[in-house]
Point group: D2
Chain length 337, copies 4
């Protein structure tokens, strides 16, 4: 933390700041410039709120200089985290494909989707059983029945299963069906849920909130990791911007940025980012070219009759074609698929 | 819903759109312009996803023309909702003052705050017992002990109590201590929590998410109301913008906008919006001048030693001075205080 | 500037940073913490790009600690700037009202508007002669003829005239007609125009760009002031946010923030911020309650037939009613009107 | 345009809307639903402001259903525009590389940069002679001397030259030195400049404003095209978002979106988007994978001593390595390089 004092502030103002820093157990350095005095200390992640210094007399500005996350930080864990679930290896040289329908609608639909995405190279099957819908009048998912269907499809194809958890109360029941818990964008700061997932020992895919900064996203990962569960994947799914021609704006630059700040794998969900089928493949190709560790893509055997998000679901053939193009791109960045 | 078809699209494209509208039970109107054909139907709040039409051949654009909320809408409920809790009347001609410390720290601190805000004209006591902190390493609140203290302070002063609920599991316990449930900005789209609060019969103050649109905010109110609990207040607490000199940006214009769209009362929280004590009063005055039905303000008997958000808490005398100025302003807009 | 070095970085990395700081003529301070080393220097407004340090080996983060503006800064000019134009005094205890039509359409329309706003208490007449329209096919203003009409209206009523300048080439001609140059939001960073206005000796009202930060806005004021023209007013006219129910979002908090950072007066334009007539008065009242030094409001004698922005123009009676309410509010914040 | 009327609005309200539509020469269609009446008309790009209808009695909402741009629209010009400048072909199957230093500093620096980027496959040389700097105290460029140097470098290497124009007054002089005019992000809505460039017959590269929507960007292209100059390239250079770890956020999805809406080529500038050298290549690869027609990249022979933006400039070897990787990726999307 660096505290900038007003030019010509009184000695007692500086003394007060110094005393407060010391009362927090921080070692203090002081520097007297021509124009301003700067006091500073190395801040600890547990030390509280920098604004407590901003209101002290003589202080102009207070700047935090250390990252507030630790377990998620690359400084403290230089090697990349690799997560293994069934046949999927996430965070290694291979790009991991996760695919399947937005929502589990029926056994037939889910098994057909699972077989087709597995044939094209996917290692993880996605499918929603609990759906966070912005309207209370929309279809809310099949619930546990949906999870049972995912389990069957997994047994048949060998795919690992990822599905969204919305609530602390759903965790114990879901433990028996899913291989990866998904936390949705709207729950990225549902701290009760994060804390409880930190007590499980299943990998968690944490979607970035619609207007969360990268730091807030990593702080939410820190919540899970602080409970002892270190297998967290970060999933970029588009952020909110002023653009109205797209559903959201895929933040492609977060991939190299997160890779520098953190050792956790980064997955990209182009389907929710763009919201329209025809533009999913260009974004998926771009994500892998930019270094994503995996993709989460909606694929439906019959998108025109999907109960949810059909407009953004790929036909199985489109997904197979995309996988073929990805195999051309991967070597350009030293990856395989 | 209005569906715009490409110039020169084929008759079968139009027929397909028409059939799909009818299959949803919607009555259809068609219009053939020189350049484009427009098909339309009056959309129902339960009818699903407009993007299902966007992917049909010949369609350029689909536009929703009805609001997706109903119980929260002024069209269906023209008179303003008035909520009564103890001595507070929220949504009537009187501006309701809610005040108190960010966090309940001790009995002495809470009772002192309660007595002072009551003396200055507040009718509701705020105080956090469960704190949603972005870092897992920050103080998380006193929990039930904090609620017990609020209960005591309420008995002593007659003030109603508002406190934040973070989790479905906390609701039954909190029922005995609080008069108004507060839902925090980060939980605005925690649909499990909203649904459960809809089953209670206590007023709910719903904070707007950091980058939620007004429509999304009203949809979250709709979630609560759909369960039968119609006593919802909407609380603006600042939205995220590019500005870094302020913590958040208070969206003052949401006050007249929500009053036009909805019958629910609008409360403004200037403390969280601006984050620095000295700028709370100008924003509080502005909010009332713009028509707010109430204010939620952090007041602490000793802000310099507050455990949380001291930098944005008013001293009790500042709060009393603010109330005096509000009494000058209120008549300019036909309100009392 | 504070430069944070990686834990365990090499002594030569620190030496390199130190040398570079010294080569810029900056005096350096160094601090060795347990975890990290921090080097720093007091940055000068002319010293360049902090990213030049970010790419040096061993550096984690570089933070600027001094404001990049100087002439516009309150630190260097503690008393508030007061600008006098004809009968208007802007920045003093009186709230200055500027009003008139969006666009000058005819002599009759402009003179009627001028007389009515003067009667209600306005001291400055606004009116566009050159219009920045987002479509090349929209009406672009009457040009010099419009300015001549404003001049006549000014002579008749004694009001000062403010009108928008879009181009360096228009300045000499406009000098004879206007009392205040207005720079539009889209030209806030048209540096050629700002530099040239800095060479004139007429007050400039500088609108904030649609998504400009306060710092960028003050830097644009600095451009004008660096040329020797110190009579700059800052005009908040709404910023772009995700909200679609309003045209823009009035950033009310910028008023106390700018008043703390700068000595320049702050004017608020609620008409462009909200875009719909009925919501202009609540925002105008709020702006004055929050401390604005003046208001810029669109008033048209016949808004329903205005050539431009009729939907947001007040009827003259509405403006008079607003002025009456403002007179109730002003004393609450120690102002007059 | 579709106009939604309030349920139970009066027949005279509908008649008024109808009359106003007809007065604009628009043919009207009406539809009476159970709940609401909808009136509509096909809007013309010249027809004005939809808010004029929003203020009429009985109207709830007005929605524009036609794009406001025409010359830039793919509906009116289905084949993609291909622009040829010297050896560069922009908009065809080949991906066009434009590269060079941020700022022209000296003849030696510019010629060295030009030779190295040409050797790696670039066809266009970039270099700033007039620099739009947010501080009036920063280096503002060499001016005409810089253009002369670019001309020499072009003669030596055969590269076409692109350089930024900031002002109408600079156009005649620049005509003799540059092959492509660049309009910077801050001038995207400098309508005087756009209009004047429309009167030249040189290609224009139009950068997207920091928070411009795609529609506004295309409207600015329309301004240039309305003057008869149809050779416009659109350049995405990052938009402003809440993220602070990156300078701007590259909007990769604008590539497929613009390609659907318009026939104009899309160029991506990853250097300004991300602002830090090490992250330029991942974004450049992503842009081409997503379908960009070209790249604009900063390359400097000695970035550590660059006068401007050294931190984001590639070393020449990095640029050559990037070009080699792009050659692997191009076939995956049916392009060459």
């Amino acid at each position: 933390m660096v505290i900038v004092m007003r030019q010509g502030c009184r000695p007692e103002d500086i003394a007060r700041v110094e005393a407060r820093l010391k009362s927090l157990g921080l070692s203090v350095f002081l520097s007297n410039g021509r124009a301003k005095t700067v006091a500073g200390a190395l801040w600890d992640t547990k030390s509280g709120d920098i604004r407590d210094f901003e209101v002290l007399p003589g202080v102009i500005e207070v700047i935090r200089i250390t990252e507030p996350f630790k377990l998620a930080s690359r400084s403290f864990h230089p090697e990349k985290t690799v997560i293994r679930v069934k046949d999927a290896v996430i965070g290694g040289p291979e790009v991991a494909l996760m695919a399947g329908p937005c929502t589990v609608e029926s056994e037939a639909q889910t098994i057909e989707a699972a077989e087709k995405v597995a044939a094209a190279g996917a290692k993880v099957l996605r499918g929603g059983a609990f759906k966070p819908r912005s309207s209370p009048y929309s279809f809310q998912g099949l619930g546990e029945e949906g999870l049972r269907i995912l389990g069957k499809a997994s047994k048949r194809t060998g795919l690992a299963v990822i599905s969204e958890v919305m609530d602390v109360g759903q965790i114990p029941m879901m433990m028996q069906y899913v291989d990866i818990f998904q936390v949705g964008a709207r729950n990225m700061q549902n701290f009760s849920l994060l804390r409880e997932l930190g007590r499980t020992r299943k990998p968690v895919l944490l979607k970035r909130g619609l207007s969360a900064t990268i730091e807030e996203w990593l702080m939410s990962a820190e919540y899970i990791m602080a409970g002892g569960n270190h297998e967290v994947m970060l999933c970029e799914r588009g952020i909110r911007t002023f653009e109205t021609y797209t559903r959201n704006t895929l933040d492609i630059s977060c991939i190299p940025v997160v890779h520098k700040l953190s050792h956790l794998p980064v997955i990209v969900d182009p389907s929710h980012a763009i919201g329209i089928r025809a533009k999913v493949p260009p974004l998926a190709l771009a994500a892998v070219a930019a270094g994503a560790d995996g993709l989460l893509i909606e694929v439906h055997p019959d998108p025109d009759n999907a109960l949810c998000d059909g407009a953004q679901s790929l036909f199985p053939e489109q997904f197979a074609d995309l996988a073929a193009r990805l195999r051309i791109i991967a070597p350009a960045i030293g990856r395989t698929l």
